[in-house]
């Protein structure tokens, strides 16, 4: 995953520098500005959850790991001199994913533990993440008639809270009540990059269409709480079911935030 991320970052920085060069030719503007937007959230490379990182370590035969998606709202406000501004960006986001794992009763890696592969079952998860981000950013504008191109970037902080739910179904009569783990928070430094087109409708109001990128780390301990007593039950029978401390996210989290909003200012 390092390759695509690095390429994306480099392309973004190159574009930003090119537009900053053009921006120097624009007439000077001054004053306060701001914006408000509704954003989608998409994590194209996934959150690196347990099923993504080690499906066979869990004892499963195959896992499905769709990308997390969701949405949120963010705003920014700052002051500008000429085509460059300094702002504070704050937002709240939520996303979720529904990975699943299929266990066929046998381990699928050398020296795998057969106990965790039984009984044959299907496990489906819902992993929810919500939180807020805050980042001081620098912004530049490039005017092109009614449309102004705007680019922002900065480093900030994020607070996230993640929670997980799991359901298990088996061929037999065994069932498990849904497993809701206690949530786990994490706080991370974050990198915010943003590119948008601002279509002016008045001298101080524009419709903003853009794409943001938020990078943060979930560290290595964003785990659900293990349930050592978890069992499948039915018809008077009991079978254990592995309920380890699932990693809900791990390491680099790269979120794409397509958004639509309003921009205010000169």
């Amino acid at each position: 995953m390092g390759g695509p991320m690095r390429a994306l970052t480099m392309a973004f920085l190159a574009s930003l520098l090119a537009f900053v060069g053009r921006a120097r030719a624009e007439p000077a503007r001054q004053g306060a500005y701001g914006g408000l937007a509704l954003a989608g959230s998409l994590e194209p490379f996934g959150a690196n959850n347990e099923l993504q990182r080690g499906c066979t370590d869990l004892g499963a035969a195959v896992c499905s790991t769709p990308v997390p998606f969701g949405g949120g709202m963010f705003g920014y406000a700052g002051g500008m001199v000429g085509t460059v501004g300094l702002e504070i960006m704050a937002g709240g986001f939520m996303d979720y994913t529904r990975p699943s794992a299929t266990f066929d009763g046998v381990p699928h890696k050398p020296h795998g533990n057969p106990l965790v592969s039984t009984p044959r079952r299907e496990e489906t998860f819902i992993i929810l993440r919500g939180g807020a981000v805050l980042a001081p950013r620098a912004r530049v504008w490039v005017d092109a008639g009614r449309v102004a191109w705007s680019f922002a970037g900065g480093v900030g902080l994020s607070y996230r809270y993640m929670a997980l739910e799991r359901e298990v179904t088996t061929d037999g009569a065994l069932e498990d009540r849904p497993y809701f783990s206690h949530g786990t928070p994490y706080i991370s430094p974050g990198l915010s990059l943003d590119a948008s087109a601002q279509i002016r409708s008045t001298p101080t109001l524009a419709l903003s269409i853009g794409l943001g990128l938020w990078a943060e780390t979930a560290w290595g301990s964003t785990r659900a709480v293990a349930d050592p007593t978890r069992t499948l039950q039915g018809s008077g029978k009991v079978e254990p079911v592995a309920t380890p401390p699932y990693l809900m996210a791990y390491g680099l989290q790269l979120l794409l935030l397509p958004y639509l909003g309003l921009a205010f200012g000169p």
Binding site: G2, H111, N113, P114, P189, T217, A226, V238, T243, L252
Partner: protein, 606 residues
């Protein structure tokens, strides 16, 4: 600092793989035992060596109650061979920390490290291997010496849940053996057993089966699904299983007293640890503190003389009858093995109404079975009860009073002498339980009372259903039978309802004869302070061991009765209830009744 470096790498998205932790090359030795801690084991020593020298010598104190579980990690190099010896000790081990001499139980394994993997090597210490010495290079498996090589291909990556019984993967013994059912022996040659029909079909078909063995000292051990040290399912027979050959030898040698089935859970795999049992508040259970002798207290010798009415009204009890089948099954019960049984058919004749010895005083002739051990009696009973032709064509007078005369059946039992602790006459009939002789020899209840008080012989009555046209002689056999049993210090069994009632009564008779009175082997010292001695057995109904306390007054507990042990009061009632219930359960389903081995449990001498 590393965290910040990793963060930077993560944010740049380029160096993330470099932050992964390095894998270790280790073997994690998982020691577990179901032996009692600290009564049987207190310490475990793990000694690991390679061809380059010692890798680890560690001694750990075990924490009870069972199961005790310990994990010790041993680092090595890829493909390096490792020899592991795990020794369990009751007392202090040798001073040399790498010596495993003098261990109570020892297990060895030889395997190989695999690069960058922490592999788990299970090393259970089993009771069957206690005091079994094997040559170096060998280990004890199921009580026999065998090669100690463990292919590294069979080892799995270590997880704490493989060792410690505090995760969802531990085997919940209490839940899986909530109700235990005695296994039914099918083939004693290879120890193939059958699941009782009480086990639901879906449990059989889905393989839900666990086994618990009752060792000779009444300790229990859950078996793994393992062809060498546990059991296997019989191919194509969902209702059968077979224990490992080494365990089969122990079973045949009576070192395993019983096998019990739990049908709630899938079989316990050898990788699955038993769930940890939290210590209960208060004093430790007696079985945890007492040393139980492997020697059995055998049932005291007993004799049963059956008087069976062969009148026309009893024709349903002869031939291929439920009664005959039930009798045959009851006589297979191990708790009756020291009982001799005989039989004579009623009716008698008027000529037997004499004051001297009458024909009932001997068990000769075609209508009688001489007193003999159960196996012989079974065949002889079958030769009579199994043939409907032995039934009379009419309902003549029985002359029961002639049979119950002190020179009749009672004389046959009196002749056996004092070494037979229990003597019983059992009347099986459905009519004519009153006196017929003239001049009178006395009322039948009076005769039974005399035998009980003067001769120490009890008289019981098993009343069976009668044909509608039976000749009752204007007497109610129920009242007469009840009077005889009450006067005779015996049991009245009402089998008139249906076959189930008959079997229930038969099981109760068997339990009366085979319970509560036991001989004591000469090697057991019954002198001294007995107040801390228990006489113990496994109560199948409650799925737990029963430790009967000493009670010198013999009101509720056990007491010495001469050279024998006698259960008294509720202690006896409880045992008889368990015995009769399980016996009824067995014969109702066509199985041999489960045994109730009894053991002497005294404070440990150390």
């Amino acid at each position: 600092m590393l965290r910040y470096a990793c963060l930077l790498a993560a944010m740049l998205g380029a160096l993330l793989p470099a932050c992964r932790s390095e894998q270790r090359t280790e073997i994690v030795v998982g020691v577990s035992t179901q032996m009692r801690v600290p009564r049987e084991l207190t310490l475990v020593r793990v000694v690991a060596t390679s061809n380059r020298g010692p890798l680890a010598c560690e001694t750990r104190r075990l924490v009870g109650p069972a199961p005790a579980q310990v994990a010790i990690s041993i680092a090595g190099g890829a493909d390096q061979v490792i020899n592991v010896a795990v020794a369990g000790y009751l007392e202090a081990p040798p001073a040399d920390p790498c010596s495993v001499e003098g261990a109570v139980v020892l297990r060895r394994a030889r395997t190989r490290f695999v690069g960058d993997l922490r592999l788990y090597l299970p090393m259970p210490l089993r009771r069957s291997c206690a005091s079994v010495a094997c040559d170096a290079g060998q280990t004890c498996l199921g009580g026999e010496c065998a090669g100690s090589d463990v292919g590294e291909g069979g080892l799995v990556e270590y997880e704490p849940s493989l060792v410690y019984g505090d995760t969802s993967f531990c085997f919940p013994r209490s839940a899986c053996f909530e109700d235990v059912i005695p296994a039914v022996l099918v083939d004693p040659e290879d120890c193939t057993f059958q699941l009782p029909d009480e086990v639901p079909d879906d449990a059989k078909n889905s393989g839900r089966l666990n086994l618990e063995v009752l060792h000779e000292d009444l300790s229990r051990e859950v078996l793994d699904l393992d062809p060498v040290e546990g059991f296997v399912r019989v191919r194509d027979r969902s209702d059968r299983f077979r224990i490992a050959p080494s365990l089969c030898k122990r079973y045949r040698a009576h070192q395993i007293a019983s096998l019990y089935v739990g049908a709630n859970c899938p079989p316990k795999e050898s990788l699955r640890p038993l769930c940890k049992v939290e210590p209960v508040a208060g004093p430790a259970p007696r079985e945890d503190t007492l040393c139980t002798s492997p020697l059995e207290l055998p049932p005291a010798r007993a004799a049963v003389y059956a008087l069976v009415d062969s009148s026309r009204s009893m024709r349903h009890a002869f031939g291929s009858s439920p009664f005959k089948t039930a009798v045959d099954l009851v006589l297979r019960a191990q708790f009756l093995r020291n009982t001799v049984l005989g039989m004579r058919l009623l009716p008698g004749t008027a000529s037997a109404c004499v004051s001297e010895a009458n024909p009932f005083a001997t068990l000769d002739g075609p209508s009688a079975v001489p007193l003999g051990p159960p196996d012989a009696a079974r065949a002889a009973f079958d030769a009579i009860l199994g043939y409907a032709s032995r039934v009379r064509p009419n309902d003549p007078p029985l002359f029961l009073d002639a049979a119950l005369h002190d020179r009749g059946a009672y004389q046959a039992l009196s002749a056996l002498g004092a070494d037979v602790a229990r003597k019983s006459v059992v009347i099986v009939g459905n009519r004519e339980l009153f006196s017929r002789c003239s001049p009178s020899l006395g009322a039948t209840s009076g005769q039974a009372y005399f035998a009980s008080q003067k001769l120490g012989i009890s008289t019981s009555v098993l009343l069976l259903a009668a044909e509608p046209d039976a000749d009752y002689g204007n007497h109610d056999p129920y009242i007469d039978g009840l009077a005889i049993a009450r006067s005779g210090g015996g049991r009245f069994g009402d089998g008139t309802g249906d076959d189930k009632a008959m079997r229930l009564a038969l099981a109760a008779f068997a339990a009366d004869v085979g319970s509560c009175l036991y001989d004591v082997p000469q090697t057991i010292d019954t002198r001294g302070d007995l107040s801390r001695v228990s006489v113990s057995y496994f109560d199948v109904l409650r799925s737990q061991r029963a430790d009967v306390p000493y009670d010198s007054t013999c009101k509720n507990g056990w007491a010495l009765d001469g050279a024998r042990v006698r259960f008294c009061g509720n202690a006896c009632n409880d045992m008889r209830f368990a015995m009769s219930t399980t016996t009824h359960y067995a014969i109702e389903r066509g199985f041999v009744p489960v045994d109730f081995p009894v053991r002497w449990a005294a404070p440990c001498a150390r």
